[in-house]
Symmetry: D2
Subunit: 313 residues, 4 copies
Amino acid sequence: MALTAEQQDEIAAARAAEGRTRRPTVAALEALLFEAMPVLDHGFVRVVDYMGDDAAIVQAARVSYGRGTRAANEDRGLIRYLMRHRHSTPFEMCEIKYHVKLPIFVARQWIRHRTANVNEYSARYSILDREFYIPAPEHLAAQSAVNRQGRGDILDGPEAARVLDLLREDAARNYDHYLEMLNEEEDGTPRDPSRQGLARELARMNLTLNAYTQWYWKTDLHNLLHFLSLRADAHAQYEIRAYAEAMMETVRAWVPMAFEAFRDYRLGAVTLSAQMMGIVKRMLAGEPVAQEGSGLSRREWRELMEMLGRDAG
Amino acid sequence: MALTAEQQDEIAAARAAEGRTRRPTVAALEALLFEAMPVLDHGFVRVVDYMGDDAAIVQAARVSYGRGTRAANEDRGLIRYLMRHRHSTPFEMCEIKYHVKLPIFVARQWIRHRTANVNEYSARYSILDREFYIPAPEHLAAQSAVNRQGRGDILDGPEAARVLDLLREDAARNYDHYLEMLNEEEDGTPRDPSRQGLARELARMNLTLNAYTQWYWKTDLHNLLHFLSLRADAHAQYEIRAYAEAMMETVRAWVPMAFEAFRDYRLGAVTLSAQMMGIVKRMLAGEPVAQEGSGLSRREWRELMEMLGRDAG
Amino acid sequence: MALTAEQQDEIAAARAAEGRTRRPTVAALEALLFEAMPVLDHGFVRVVDYMGDDAAIVQAARVSYGRGTRAANEDRGLIRYLMRHRHSTPFEMCEIKYHVKLPIFVARQWIRHRTANVNEYSARYSILDREFYIPAPEHLAAQSAVNRQGRGDILDGPEAARVLDLLREDAARNYDHYLEMLNEEEDGTPRDPSRQGLARELARMNLTLNAYTQWYWKTDLHNLLHFLSLRADAHAQYEIRAYAEAMMETVRAWVPMAFEAFRDYRLGAVTLSAQMMGIVKRMLAGEPVAQEGSGLSRREWRELMEMLGRDAG
Amino acid sequence: MALTAEQQDEIAAARAAEGRTRRPTVAALEALLFEAMPVLDHGFVRVVDYMGDDAAIVQAARVSYGRGTRAANEDRGLIRYLMRHRHSTPFEMCEIKYHVKLPIFVARQWIRHRTANVNEYSARYSILDREFYIPAPEHLAAQSAVNRQGRGDILDGPEAARVLDLLREDAARNYDHYLEMLNEEEDGTPRDPSRQGLARELARMNLTLNAYTQWYWKTDLHNLLHFLSLRADAHAQYEIRAYAEAMMETVRAWVPMAFEAFRDYRLGAVTLSAQMMGIVKRMLAGEPVAQEGSGLSRREWRELMEMLGRDAG
């Protein structure tokens, strides 16, 4: 991540401006506010605004006139109860807004989460930065042999070198040709006065999917936690998980009680089907069980044994 | 509206608590924060939180690192441009949360606006207040003779008196029977120890639709303006319009530039079909025009002449 | 449920009309189409249109040019995999539309599910039917002593009789006064020509929450299953559960593979937190465990033991 | 557009299968069903399912037991009234599902419309086709000099030739390197057994934004019309407009009354602010008017004069 001096100044100015408010404030999140947390090689996530705190969840659940909070352990108990029993509306009462810089192929996964507000930097109006995501060597993975959508071993040696060369060269060449077609420099300065330059909305099509874009993304806490439960998961693609993990830190700072409940009842939780639960009960009763005759497919049996920390047999 | 002493204390305490924040603040809205603005006979609207301001609209439209604002007249011009051309996403970057007390039949209209977050006071858990909406005499209108969903003349004399008596008596009797079935007082004190009391989730069905409920309602500025454009309109039912008008004042305090643009390009605006525009052009060219042969139905012709401030002929 | 002869004729005519289509059809659902399935004392649910079938889920998951289906057991395996791993978008490719007649207090719970399309019968334009929900004696439950939102014992004897009398009398009286204020009969015939009649949008406020309304409600299969998982659950209020159960039958007829997967992985499933799973593993390893020292609250411990079919100790 | 023989067979088989249904059917849309309508150089739109028709709009607006329709001209009048007064919910009762093949940069604009269901072909699992959008010479426009997001003159001569060469070569080279990194052929055949091949979820980042993707996209008629009003507009980028125009034909076939109303009251309509309307009235009264003193900015004045077909003076 390389912020320009001008961008750094803008961020510093925003951080320096402080005012008084009657709204709830969260000191731990104020401390992070506007700061760019680096993600991948040129990306970042930064919180640019927020609304509400742990108490706002309790306040809405109780539809109260004041803050609606009671003893801290009662509030904590209520928040854990709401999370455990999937009462989603009180968590919708908190809202957060991020500024994110991210590769286009990550943006395409991210945007599938529809319950959010988005303003993306427009390549119809503006010129994109000369920045592309190139995986670090330890993330250069082969296709998984067992999982059609997963990664396998890390590539190394000449194969890794060749991949990195191709990614770097193709992204750079395509970007150079993008500017050439625009007949502009990266900062918008015109080049050859004898040419008109291709429309920006057309020239952008020559860019690669690892080019960086950026957006303002705003959502409520319930939908954010849903996003994080999918994207901070081990099955998510590493590149989007890196963003989710940075955002987890902002949630921990913002709403510590809700975050703890989320970690316990969502992130770390497992769901067992009726049939799976029946097998667990039989195991607890000391009965021998095996995949055959269990009513579970081989795949489900493997999933269950994994959850129980047992050998699939 | 009669807030209890305890509720007033809670509100006063919330207003008195002030903290420091790096987030944008809006002094005119801070001044209103938490205060209950009376609506109808027992209802209110009060702002309980907000996020963003006029500058946040500009900031998102420009996807900037800092506040993103420039000279005030440039910002104003951009906001007006965005409103005029129905660019909705920058307005979604501002969020507001209200606490509203309102009759159930109004709540049923309101909830049709789906793009919002709601936590309603639950009559499955709790006992509703002994408060019912009774129209003021000047709002006691007859059915319109010309418009199937509108109001006509104001009722008066014995007919008005009879209506008010019925509304008052029925609501009060049904509420008394609600408590009797619950075997509880309004404050939850048990009554006759020899009876169990009907479940709250069942007893509530005896209440009338003018009983008051309350909720926390949170939405973004774009969706709020859409709500207001429909509900502050002269064709909206008076009772929901009363809420919309109170909320208009909060928007004016919160985002004055966006509010002004909304007033000019939405509230006061008219939409002309291609055929209507053709007729306006012919009128401007001095041609005589009449409904017959205009391609407009009689109803559309009347609507057009009304917009032009002319006699429908 | 009492459909008028005219309504029955309209339904019969709709059922009799048959056409040819290239779209997928589901014979078991066609057999139910337009039929009113009775719910509660005067309500019903009827399917009025649908789009897609089990194969449409598979087709979308594979983004195929044709039907996209393979051997039935491969399709079934894919649908079960998608359900188990909460891949929601393929289930969104099926859509269904219901016509529902339901008490207003049930409609108010139902409408909280925002991801649906709704057209409700308007009491601003029209007169509601003279029908109110009165619980059958076996559903006349007392407030639960242990669960603030649940039901306890069934009321009987004079207390039950009194409740039923109050519900019946209040609803009927308020309806009679509603017509009196309207100065109309139930069928819209004017009454006393010397009076104007109160506007319909006002008079409706005198009705009780057990009056019946009706609406067209349309949603996709993913959101329908989410609705059913909450509303067909034992913790849902009986009156809305009755609707959910009728709708379950329509889903079973429509998409039998998706329904079976839903039943196994959602309805019958349980979710265990990380801490709960740790305790299950310790139990399986033969360790003695107790609430104290388990890291679970008393309430969570009780929930876990219940899931395992054990005494909470 | 080049469908493979296998794809053509799948489509032909789907078209040949016909069944009986009690649901409303639309012959003109059935005739189009499953057929791929070509868009751009390799893209297409095809309708793969639909639900409802013009009568379904009327039926929902009237909440009827049968088809709910009356005389055709009454239905037409009601649909036009609903469209003119922006009653959106009855139009939500119709649903349509498309299969679309489109360049990634177009998909990125399209996906901003959030109220739809989408299943996209996954480049984490599968290999994308070797197809890229290359603009036809008549669409190779320069950046507009007056409008920051528009197109200006058509490029020609050596500048056009150079642009086309760059677009073609870069897309092809990057695709070749994509396969090389995957160590696979376009059809998934492995290449060099001594190499592992980069994970598909990573290799895709080397593709250009004019590569084609495909998805199933399903939405209701109200949201579809909103999409079309923005994307079939002259200000929309040509490449997405080409899709919108093909979809317009499907809407015309499907719901001809709603389509006609949409064309009259949305597509061809103009919205005038209160200030603009004031000026029109003054013009009709014969008063001279000029931008100066009109209360309109120069930009708004120009927009108004354009709508009135006058010289901006």
